[in-house]
């Protein structure tokens, strides 16, 4: 980061729903709401683990995942995913997004660990949005994994009576 470090005056946290929160550097331990500044404290103790203290209330926090500039934070039991961008990387991202072509395939992953009970499609099958692809059993419930798109099945990796982990590839659909 060397030289770049010196130039950064601001950081942006982009939520997965594309909301942008900007923070000036050096990062303050206060957040301004309207005209008032409120103190934010990151603390930890034996009983509660890590928490944020804000406006006299404790909120449990956990870091679920972090890789490069991407962070998944569990705040008060709700998960938020942010990518942290510098003014420079934000600009670069905008350029990349405008030149990137249309997404051509949809990859269906296991939403939870479980056992594949049935595979309802074959390579070459045409599926409509909302059509069930795979039946996955997890915690005694059978869940239909539904196609989020219209398309043609190009790859079927799910096999009946096999166990899958969360995020294992099940089916690939060409749009």
């Amino acid at each position: 980061m060397g030289n770049e470090k010196l130039q950064i005056k601001k950081l942006y946290a982009l939520s997965s729903e594309n909301r942008k929160y900007s923070f000036s550097l050096p990062l303050k331990h206060t957040i301004r709401i309207g005209k008032r500044e409120y103190e934010v404290k990151l603390k930890a103790d034996e009983k509660y683990g890590t928490y944020i203290l804000w406006k006299n209330r404790k909120y449990p926090v956990e870091i679920v995942r972090s890789s490069q500039n991407k962070y998944e934070i569990l705040f008060n039991d709700i998960s938020y995913t942010f990518t942290i961008e510098t003014p420079f990387s934000l600009q670069r991202m905008k350029v990349l997004n405008s030149t990137r072509g249309k997404i051509e395939k949809e990859i269906i992953k296991a939403p939870m660990p479980g056992k594949i009970i049935d595979v309802l499609v074959r390579e070459g099958s045409v599926v409509l949005r909302g059509e069930p692809l795979v039946i996955l059993e997890a915690m005694k419930m059978q869940n239909e994994i539904i196609s989020p798109v219209h398309g043609t099945i190009v790859k079927v990796l799910a096999k009946p009576n096999t166990n899958v982990m969360k995020d294992d590839l099940l089916v690939e659909i060409k749009l």
């Binding site: 930890a44 995942r65 997890a138």
Partner: protein, 504 residues
Amino acid sequence: MNLMKIKRILIANRGEIAVRIMKTAHLMKIETVAVRTVVEPNAMYLATADVIFDNTEDISEIPVFLNIEKLIAIALETNANAIHPGYGFLAENAYFAQKCIDNSLIFIGPSPDAIYKMGNKTIARKIALASGIPMAMGSEGNITNEEEAVVIAEKIGYPVIIKAASGGGGRGMRIVRKSDEMEKMFIIASKEAEKAFNDPSVFVEKYIENPKHIEFQILGDTKGNVIHLGERECSIQRKHQKLLEEAPSSALDEKLRKKMGDMAVQIAKAVDYHSAGTVEFLLDNDKNFYFMEMNTRIQVEHPVTEVITGLDLIEQQIRIANGEELRFKQSDIKLKGWAIECRINAEDVQAGFAPDPGKIESLNMPTGPYIRVDTGVQAGSSIVASYDSMIAKLIVRGKDRKEAIKNCKMALDKVWIKGTKTTLPFFRMLVRHQKFQDGTFTTSFIEKDLEKYYFNSEYEEMLAAWLATKLFVEENLNDNSINVNFEHGKVMSPWLLNKRINQF
């Protein structure tokens, strides 16, 4: 005074219900036996048992709690003279109840005959029909294929619901709205039924749109006395899985309560029911009610009834199994106050309530005069994928519904669970929702009336964004940053975070 014949109970179950049964057994000075399994060798329920049977060498994929021969052998070997099945597993298995009797073990539950009749939904329908209980229209008996299902559906009109004959707990059920969905849904329901209940048979009945789920708690003794302990409302459910229950229900007045309660008692009497049981009804918009099924076991949500009646239902089950007569009549039962139970499960509300098994890093539950917590886990316990995802039941009371909701809201903010995602954000949203507060919700509430499954106050996302930014600054921009290179998906352990905090 009746002599207590039951000296030592084998708990043929695990988790919070095992803990719950042992609690009452101890109060009654009855010993308990718990089974240690390889999946949960350090489970909390083992800590309160008088005798632990070590079954960790059994590495079969089928849980011991479903193995009838093994459980009987364990009971005999540990000198237990009674078995409590809890809920789930073999709780509604007539053959298991019969096997207990054959081996001179007292089964703490109803007779095998009552379990069988009520467990088979098609037989239960016939009994209810013969007793004059109102019911939704449907097939006479089981149906064997989708063509037959279509014929019946055309006759009674869509939408219809396919249900497993041996079903319960929401499995093996599918709603069909059009004839072209029938084939797919029939196969799914039938397969699910076979998998879950070892019986693929299903039947079809008219699907009641937007009903309330109202169930009556029944107590019957072996002398023929049957009473009800009022109702519970369990309309807050998702895919037929109950999430929150309350007692009483805001939908019932004294008159309707008496009418439904009498019907519930009548159907229980039709099978000479003894022990605790639950008669489930659907209540439509015009306050018509329809018999759905009878559960011949103690229910997960039994605490809300205990709170408003002051009775210990496990104690009642044990006394009835001991051959004692009920000590109270219907007129002695007075419902007092209001109780709400939230099922705090290890589920990811933001990912469509997907199970989120894992280790509970810390668990802090609130305490207070209006709070009861039933749990089978503690800090360090794991929620394993092979069992249900229950962490704890938070039971809150108030003098009326309004106060119970207010207390529930406060209690929910005091629950701290770390290690897995939980259904807490859902309940925090629910207690603030207008439709929940005014009591007009139905079983379709979650699917139809909710835009968002969780609650977060205005600034929470911003605070989370601040934390993410803070971590980024620490990792990348500070001269003294630790520079830990996180691999994708690597979970950050709390000590590492603490180390960072101490740096600030």
